[in-house]
Amino acid sequence: MKRRVAAARMYRGSVVKKILVVEDDPINAQILSDFLSANDYATSVASSGTEGIERFKADRPDLMLVDVQLPRKNGFEVCWEIKRSPEGAQLPILLMSAVYTDREHANRYSHDSLRADGYLTKPFDLADLLQRVRDLLHEA
């Protein structure tokens, strides 16, 4: 209850943090955006890697939640591309993927500064997601 009050105050002070969800499965995208919205984040959704990059440039989110298996550009490519750009170098990015993906290792081989800030294995607990998001946004 207390948290809700605090969040409401943040709304008035317009310090609502923006989260961009890049996920091609519409149901999963809906779950993530509904859940994050319910927790007082402003969310937007992109359904492909290229759209994710475009939305990043237009929306300037505070955090990105990116699926690894995406049409056109995959999650790693989206992450590398954004982290390489001056605007995106400091942006926290969380990658999500189903278990047993071979690409999981790909993130390990990339340079430190281009690596994602976290990795969530699907299916993840929504409470875990919230905790990771708060940690990355330096929220209590």
Partner: protein
Amino acid sequence: MYPPFVAEMAHEANRPKLRFGIASGFAIVLAFGALAALGVGFELVPFTWAFPLLVGVKLVTNTLAWWSLRTNRGVLEWNGLNTAADVVLMTGAIYFTGGPRSPLLPVYVIEISVVALLTNLGVTLLICAQVLVCFAAMTILMATGVMPDQPVPVDPSGSIGPRYAVVAIVYAAFVIGVPTFFTSSILRLLRAKEDALIEAQKARSQFLASITHELRTPIHGVQGLSDLIASGIYGPVSDKQKDACASIKRSAQSLLGLVDDLLAMTRAEIGKLEVARAAVPLADLVEQVAASVTWMLGTKKLALVVEASDAGTIATDRRLLAHVLVNLVANAAKFTPEGGRVVVRASRSSDGAVLEVEDTGIGIAPERHAEIFEAFKQIDAGDEKGYGGVGLGLALVKRLVDLLGGTITLDSDVGKGSTFRVALPA
């Protein structure tokens, strides 16, 4: 009317083999004719009417067999006669070139090898018996003087002259060449079939892996949405609705467990399951597994006990080992009746680590310990309680433990519960 191994030779699938056999029969008649002509022409063996007679009879039986295939009448009978006649005619050729001393003795081997490659075990044994009987009869009849002795082909000069050498070499080429030709063509055929099978198996596993992967996404949807509904994000929920959401989630989780097992199994089959080793704190891992399997206990009143306080760390693949433990606990929970206990234990051993999952369930008879690790074999509990499942979990456990370089043992007896013990090297 005929034994199955004979009757099957008439099947459509065996027709190409019969045709192949008849074609080679004509080739062998030619070769034998040429050999006899050479032998007689070079005066290595005296002419006898038996030679053209033997070749002629084979020509007739072979033609009849060919005709039966063409008209599809009496296929078994005429082809059987053709093969049986082969042995008799060969025995005749052997008799007229010296009986048991004849250099033609190896032609029996040609016959047996061709029959073995073109038919089946039963027919081959039958022909083999016929060869032995014919040869023994001929030898006994000659030994007892009922059939007169016959001269062995020799070079008129008394030593190995050029004519003898030519015939010997042609004959050797014949004896060695025919079985080689048959063996290699059949082997090539088998190799091609084997390759096709391996390809098909790979494609099937590949397909299964991608389909199971696709199955995961909608299951996540079911899980996530039931969570969101239960949390009240979409409006107020009653306690009954919350319970229903929890049940939806449990069903989705058990479905996901099955899909994950299938996925891991097919990935292991196509060699796509990589082992990524890192230091894994065992106590931490066991706690995580215990937390993730509580839903499996469901409404069953089972106690889940964790004993892993000072187990230390081990270099292994955390995800795969967690999958092993989850499956073992799932198995224990499934076969342990209400009020039972499941213990997950981890400890260091002198040369690695030992993880145990112990239950107070129905137990497994020792003689069945080996088969429970085979895929899709679930031991029938011997009652009508009907434990569901396809028996994939333990097969996957074995596979994953093998991948991790460990061993799994089982200590169990009917009614005494089970303890699965996974030993991992350091």
